[in-house]
């Protein structure tokens, strides 16, 4: 009977979800703990830098292959998502929107590839892969960039006083302080909700997968293991759909916030 630790990359299925520290850099009095989530975020960035320009570089008139895919996604985001909201400001913001869409998409999809098992077979190292967006700090950083983009572009388009004046709609004067406080809170809660939505969707997907597989590991039964494999395959397909959907939702909501800040009369 082959021991499980030879085949599986880890005996605890929840280890694919948590962050594993890889090495520690000591810079003066600061300590930088480099973890596998940071590594996967870097890998996603590198993949974007290498493959997206390569796909766009085909010289044929009719798009084929990878260029077709990249062009379809980019055109869908620009025409169907950004242009109805932003109108003539589409070209100013579309590069940022494309970037966050592809970054979130690549991070989510890299989390679905079983890099742990493959790397465990090739080199003995373990826990080098993972989902970068399973980390609240990485999704929080994306939300902070969305926050900066929304408010800085709003202030640059309308001027600071005009922008704050447009926070509240035209209502009778007793309601203005309450509405102003609510809008101010909303300006912080909306990016926070963006971060939490992406983080919790990815975390919940992987945790449910881990719980399902853990159930098969606990009950040593071949029938249950077979049914678990089918269930885990179906759940992984749902996970792939959720990866695309969450990237699209993040981009779509950021577009709506930017258009609300730049064109408040929508």
């Amino acid at each position: 009977m082959i021991r499980t630790s030879v085949i599986l990359a880890s005996e605890n299925p929840l280890s694919h979800v948590v962050q594993h520290p890889l090495f520690t850099l000591q810079v003066g009095s600061w300590q930088l703990n480099f973890s596998n989530h940071m590594l996967m975020a870097l890998v996603a960035g590198l993949l974007m830098i290498i493959f997206l320009p390569l796909a766009a570089r085909q010289r044929t008139m009719v798009p084929q292959g990878a260029r077709n895919l990249v062009e379809t996604i980019c055109e869908f985001l620009r025409e169907k998502v950004a242009r109805p909201q932003l109108g003539e400001n589409t070209d100013r913001f579309i590069k940022y929107l494309w970037t966050i869409f592809y970054f979130i998409l690549f991070c989510n999809l890299l989390g679905m590839i079983p890099t742990d098992g493959i790397l465990y077979f090739l080199i003995g190292k373990n826990h080098l892969g993972g989902t970068a967006t399973c980390n609240i700090y990485i999704t929080g950083t994306l939300a902070v960039t969305a926050f900066i983009m929304v408010h800085v572009s709003g202030i640059r388009h309308q001027g600071l006083f005009n922008y704050i004046k447009h926070f509240v709609p035209t209502v009778p004067w007793p309601l203005i302080p309450i509405l102003f406080v609510l809008e101010l809170l909303g300006a912080f809660i909306k990016p926070f909700a963006l971060a939490i939505r992406l983080f919790a969707n990815m975390l919940a997907g992987h945790t449910v997968l881990a719980a399902l597989i853990g159930m098969a590991l606990v009950l040593h039964n071949y029938t249950i293991a077979g049914v678990t494999i089918l269930g885990a395959s179906a759940l992984s397909l749902l996970e792939l759909f959720v990866a695309f959907l969450q990237a699209y939702i993040f981009t779509f909501l950021t577009t709506i916030f930017i258009s609300a800040a730049v064109h408040p009369e929508h």
Binding site: A193, I196, R197, F199, A200, N201, A204, L245, Q246, I249, F252
Partner: protein, 90 residues
């Protein structure tokens, strides 16, 4: 100690961490129920409106998916709060 009040005896037996875990479990379950009700209503209305006008099927389907993802967003808010509470107490 209490020979007629099972509820009070149970609460004494599981203690404070037990009560906290009970609260977390009930909270998460109720949030899941609320989300399921909301998304079920959206799906029902979406399917009915696609049946009324099949040409608008694509747009209705996209709106349904987006609204379901938004509702799931604040469902996960509550789930994350439950997990945080469980880590702190239980």
């Amino acid at each position: 100690m209490f020979d007629c009040n099972i509820l009070a005896e149970g609460m004494l037996a599981i203690g404070d961490p037990g009560l906290a875990a009970l609260g977390v479990g009930l909270g998460a379950g109720l949030v899941g129920m609320g989300a399921a009700l909301g998304i079920g209503r959206i799906a029902g209305n979406a399917v009915e409106s696609i049946a009324r006008q099949p040409e608008a099927g694509g747009r209705i389907f996209s709106s349904m998916i987006i609204t379901a993802a938004l509702i799931e967003g604040f469902t996960f808010f509550a789930l994350v709060i439950s997990i945080l509470a469980l880590n702190k107490i239980g």
